[in-house]
């Protein structure tokens, strides 16, 4: 796995503020927001959506943060167990690598 993931520069992306606010409101109400898209990615003409966790990982894929550093940062943001979120981050980074969403 890539140690310091970097977003593929050919991908067009944007966080949707209104959708993010709505997902945040769900979290504050104690609801599950994992199915709520807050970010859009346009890859080779196909649009994808990321939920809040995916979006936060994507934003940190700057070629400087290590996978472990991303996981540690997100554990604080989402008030989650570090080991659990580290597994999610690794799985998502592997998936992005397979899809070509990360720079070589």
């Amino acid at each position: 796995m890539i140690d310091r993931p970097l977003r593929n520069p050919a991908i067009i992306w944007r966080e949707e503020d209104e959708l993010r606010d709505a997902a945040m409101a769900m979290l504050e109400r104690g609801e599950d927001a994992s199915g709520e898209g807050v970010m859009i990615l346009l890859c080779a003409g196909v649009m994808h959506q990321l939920n809040m966790l995916g979006a936060e990982i994507w934003k940190r894929c700057d070629g400087e943060h290590t996978v472990d550093a991303i996981a540690a940062g997100l554990a604080e943001v989402f008030d989650a167990e570090p080991d659990e979120i580290a597994a999610d981050v690794r799985e998502f980074v592997s998936d992005m690598q397979r899809r070509g969403w990360l720079a070589e």
Binding site: W13, R14, D17, G35, A44, G45, M47, Q49
Partner: protein, 336 residues
Amino acid sequence: MKPFVLSAPLIVNWTLSFRCNFACNHCYSRAEDASAELSTAQIKSIMDTLAARKVSFINFGGGEPLLCSDLFELAGYASGLGFKVSMNTNGWLLDETRAALAKNAGFETVGVSIDSHRAEVHDGFRNMPGSFERAVNAVRQLRSNGVRVTMSSVICRINADEFVSLVDMAESLGVEQIFLHNYKCAGMGMTNRDELDLSPPEWREFYIKAMNLKAARSGIRISMDDPITATIKGGDAESPLVKGSTCGKLSLNIRANGDVTPCGFIPVPIGNLLRDDFDSIWRGSDVLGKLRNKEPKAKCLQCKHYADCLGGCSARAYAATGDFESPDPHCWFEPV
């Protein structure tokens, strides 16, 4: 995840000018008024508006964008605002100096139009002797200046049987991505439709071959961007979130006078950015609403593929019938 309307388009295609140094047989814009153009300051002001809406990508088309004396200034301004910037050019004016200017202005990519691997065929289609050689030279100059290059090829009767050679040529030139554009029966494309457009069965045959080639090639990305390909089994590795035409959903078009249209091939103004609020256009336009919520008509009513293709290309349907919701005239399906 749930479908939704984006807060703003991701991509804006921008015709800075309808002026052109070519007179191509398929051109959608040759009949347009080439006199009404925005000032540099007006264009920058609109760019500020788009940046505030977090539009990501601006593609300059035309007309020929290199005829605009402020092109590199505008591209530099746009890239400074954080946009990814590209343009489509016929390559005639793209010499070593302009390739370097493109690099300095921050062009993310430049698309060069080449429609055949045979010079005489390309030159004939573009009605410009020597244009093939100039376009190939443009690709080389851009690459040697470190600009990523794509190639645009309009698929029609002159090249449909030879498109593999076209892809081979693009790959040998170091082009990253080739766009095999479907023929649009708009403008001169409508005038010359009988001579140049393929029949629906011929489109099906072309797309099956092109998809097989796309799957087999790793040295160059092959893009078709035609919603009608969703009807071919195995055509999409993944089911796209946005189905049907993407105009008015992911992208929007700005004309030389500031008019906004859903795409370059749908000449229906839905506002003007010198006069109208951008959000009101994007969220409130009845035309965009109709494009985002198409209803099947005619043969689409009985077609099992409608949920995937949403009637195919809205621009083609509009050009052929005056109705976005009519079946795509390239569609080969006849529901039983």
